[in-house]
Symmetry: none
Subunit: 202 residues, 2 copies
DNA sequence: ATCTTTTGTACGTTATCACGTACGAACGTA
DNA sequence: TACGTTCGTACGTGATAACGTACAAAAGAT
């Protein structure tokens, strides 16, 4: 386990983490506070505040929290500012769609890092299936899935058992077990699936 | 401007800011990583990780950001976090239903401990809303929500902004921010909502 | 104009962060 | 059982955060 650490040679922004300084300065000025005013409110010295604002120093979590408090924010609020809105809209005609053997998958949640629940709509033609009994699990260990039947009837196969689901039924199960859905009827079925990611890493 | 700093004598929580260490430890263990694994992923030494987890040291923002990155999170996500047998079927006529002022909520996922994603259907009558602008957030820190419009059109209000959603559109956002949906049309709208929970505090 | 106050930052000192090494305990394998 | 590996943490060292003091420049008051 060797960590090579070159001072100031590599990307300085990466070593300094989130760009806190500029935000502190902007907020302080917006509140019409001098460095000494904020030092008084936060209990962090004016020279230190100056260093932080100019990016000369990365404050500890403890000090940053006090700075945020002096700006009437929690630290997570301070860090969230300027992170972008995090409101992502997918229009009905913009869904990412996959097709395979009578099985259509429309993704509804955005492919963002840290996304915790994957939301999709599955349409199965008559006789189609989401997989078969010998397929390995496609979801990571610890995943849970909730599926809601939107249209028609569908069968869930899991743990060597068959569960019949009618229109409007929903089911929740461990998605890291081998499982698949089958449409054994005469018409299309539609299914809303939510897979909540697990935390375990092997 | 004097700051007295006594090692471990005064209130340790105030001097250490947010309780990051316990969260790092809980996440690391949930991901089945050793300190050395996380040191490898984050580029922060194992002894330092140990000190952080035990609250002996407050890391700088730069170091904390690297730790968060090794846990597949941004630092603000890490700071926001707080912390759910098998096949459970809910029949369409067995949904847990709540009603309030033109707003009907049907729960589709079971109320199990450890449940990671809460799935529900919301029906809003004309002029109804899921809440209003002054309601506090009802979801725990770190929650994300994906909502899918099943029928009609609906407006999402969040961050002082209004987002118009049409039939079939979906939206994903931080559910721990104050937000609500409104139906300003002439007929019922229906909405699938998936709220992925934050993680339990360690 | 002069004088005073305010402001941000340079500088030196001290405390603490962050590292690498090494240790003891726990665990796994033969 | 013995041996090897993995794990978390103690320890010492060097780097840097965080402070208080002082300075120069800008702003405000007379």
């Amino acid at each position: 386990m060797t960590t090579t650490r070159t001072r100031g040679a590599a990307a300085p922004e990466e070593t300094n983490g989130p760009e806190v300084g500029a935000r502190v300065k902007a907020l302080r000025e917006a509140m019409d506070l001098s460095l000494r005013d904020l030092a008084e409110r936060s209990g962090v010295s004016a020279p230190m505040l100056s260093q932080v604002e100019r990016g000369e120093t990365s404050p500890t979590i403890a000090v940053a929290s006090r700075i945020a408090s002096g700006l009437d924010l929690s630290l997570s609020q301070l860090l969230r500012l300027d992170e972008g809105r995090h409101v992502v809209i997918t229009r009905s005609n913009q869904r990412r769609t996959r097709r395979r053997r009578g099985h259509v998958v429309e993704e509804l949640s955005p492919p963002l890092p840290g996304q915790r629940a994957d939301v999709s709509i599955h349409t199965l033609g008559a006789g189609a299936a989401t997989g078969d009994a010998d397929d390995p699990p496609v979801h990571e260990p610890g995943s849970r899935e909730t599926a809601v039947v939107l249209e028609g009837a569908i069968d869930l196969f899991i743990d060597g058992e068959r569960h019949e689901l009618a229109d409007g039924d929903s089911v929740t199960f461990d998605a890291d077990l081998p499982h698949h859905f089958e449409n054994n009827g005469k018409s299309d079925t539609r299914l809303f699936a939510v897979v909540a990611a697990g935390l375990r890493r092997g």
